[in-house]
């Protein structure tokens, strides 16, 4: 299987605060990686580095074989222009903790916006695809509603559909269920399970241990800006080797 994501020795600092201190991760095509860890461990920051929302200070990240945010020419790194970074991001979908739907657009317009404006695809085609995506996440009846009229779980499902409308080869989930009422978590996780079954490559930062156990091919436990432990769910969750992993899991399980 080919590698979709390869992160090597990634470092990231905000001023004098070093958030990532050498993170490595590889995700094969179609693989699902769940990143667990206490808050402040750098897991969200790491995710944001993968689509260059944050610039890394050292190390390198490759998505589908291409360096993220840089181009290597004559053994020297060149920063990519904003336009090239934007083009790279088109194939990387991202779902945020706080949904970040565009409140001034209807659900359908939210999903259609990027394919129409960024990729300049034909409106009718995009519309059909958007409707079928919204149907897939169970929101066919809400296409003309505005985000404020939806529950958190519904909004997050729209956000997933919006990301999928760009036909990404990789999906990043940044704590997608952390801002939801407990009874709404399930519906979002169901959609994500469906995606994983269909072979989408996914990196999921989450606190949902049950989801990680069921869906993940690999579970990564981060703490203090480094990967403490990684392996299959049965290794990391059921039988952790590191003290820090054990301590964390004992609190959340």
């Amino acid at each position: 299987m080919t590698e979709m994501v390869r992160a090597e020795n990634v470092h990231k600092s905000f001023g004098s605060l070093e958030v990532l201190k050498g993170v490595d991760l590889t995700v094969p095509q179609g693989g699902v990686s769940c990143v667990l860890g206490p808050s402040g461990s750098g897991k969200s920051t790491f995710l944001r580095c993968i689509n260059h929302l944050e610039k890394i200070n050292a190390g390198r990240i490759l998505v589908d074989g291409d360096l993220v945010g840089y181009r290597e020419r004559g053994g020297k790194l060149h920063e990519m222009s904003e336009r090239d970074v934007a083009r790279q991001r088109q194939s990387i979908g991202m779902v945020f903790q706080r949904f970040n739907l565009f409140p001034h657009m209807t659900v359908l317009d939210n999903v259609m916006e990027a394919p129409c404006r960024v990729k300049r695809e034909k409106k009718a085609e995009v519309r059909d695809r958007a409707l079928s995506l919204l149907d897939r996440v169970g929101l066919a009846a809400k296409v003309d509603n505005y985000p404020a009229q939806l529950s958190g779980g519904q909004q997050q499902r729209v956000a997933i559909a919006r990301a999928l409308a760009m036909r990404p080869k990789l999906m990043l989930f940044d704590e997608p269920t952390s801002a939801l009422d407990p009874e709404l978590v399930g519906e979002v996780l169901e959609v994500m399970k469906g995606l994983a079954r269909d072979g989408m490559t996914m990196i999921v930062v989450t606190h949902e241990i049950g989801f990680a156990r069921e869906v993940a091919d690999e579970v990564v436990f981060m703490d203090g800006g480094v990967v403490v432990e990684k392996g299959s769910p049965s290794e990391v969750i059921a039988n952790p080797q590191q003290e820090r992993t054990k301590a964390f899991l004992s609190k959340v399980l």
Partner: protein, 335 residues
Amino acid sequence: MTQPTETGRARPEAIKAVAVRHPGRWVMIAVLAVLVAMFLHMIFTNDGFRWSFIFSSYAPGKRGVMFTEPVLEGLRGTLLLTLFSMLIGVGLGIVVAVMRLSPNRVLSSVAWVYTWFFRAVPRLVLAVIFGNLNILWSRIGFGLPFDKQIGQLFGIDNFDGQIFSIRSTDLLAGFVAGMIALGLSEAAYMAEIVRAGIQSIDTGQSEAAVALGMSRGQVLRRVVLPQAMRVIVPPTGNEVIAMVKDTSLVAYVPVTGELFFQLQQVEARTFVVLPCLVAALIWYLIICSVLMVIQFFVERHFGKGYGAAGKARQRLRDIQVEQGGRITATGEGTP
């Protein structure tokens, strides 16, 4: 009336309680009513207003002063001046605001200096200065910058690199000078309003847009500004209304085709002071009332997706669904 509910328990009768009394409010209302009555009485009975002078005829064979030809011309001038200076103000204001928020220090400093200067100088002073700017230049043109100096460098006297130029007394006089002065001043205020609007939008919005592959311009045009408009429109309405009134300052440029100036001319000819002032006041009231109606519709347009009404309707539907109601095509539920 009691109705059985799902739990099987009878629903108690709705509460019928005696409302709290507010005697203070009633006293206040009485006082205001008397004051309003006194005011209206004065308006209708005091001969000093000379309503016929204002509305029907201010001199034998003439229309009321509000509707005479020069005053209507002045009204047109006031409206056009407001429109054009606000267009300059809003357009340039957005540019200055975006520059001010730029990560580039030079751009943001230039924007800062611009707002500093034009907010510091009174509009009246600015209007007079622009009326006299032709003292600085005899011609204003477009072409090679520093053409004279470059010419001298190569030993050519009077080298002319201008592609197009115009006598400054033709360009920078009257209406155009007033329009530019008011527009540049307005841009400084609009820049601050637009900046506040842009900064009020959650960074998650531009992050989500950028993550979808949108360019910086697209993020601004499609995501940030449309939302920022909710914050920008109300103070901009203020600015438009203030501008209607500030157009009277261009009399000092001087511009004569302006409402207040024209009414003062009538005043000077007829020695009827107060009715002319009242006529001006009435026109300003009418213009601003129309503008407020326009503002209402603009606000409603940019409030899409935020309306409390929309949310309430949705909640109602959800409740009906929970109670086993049927949703019809129009969204009206039948319990």
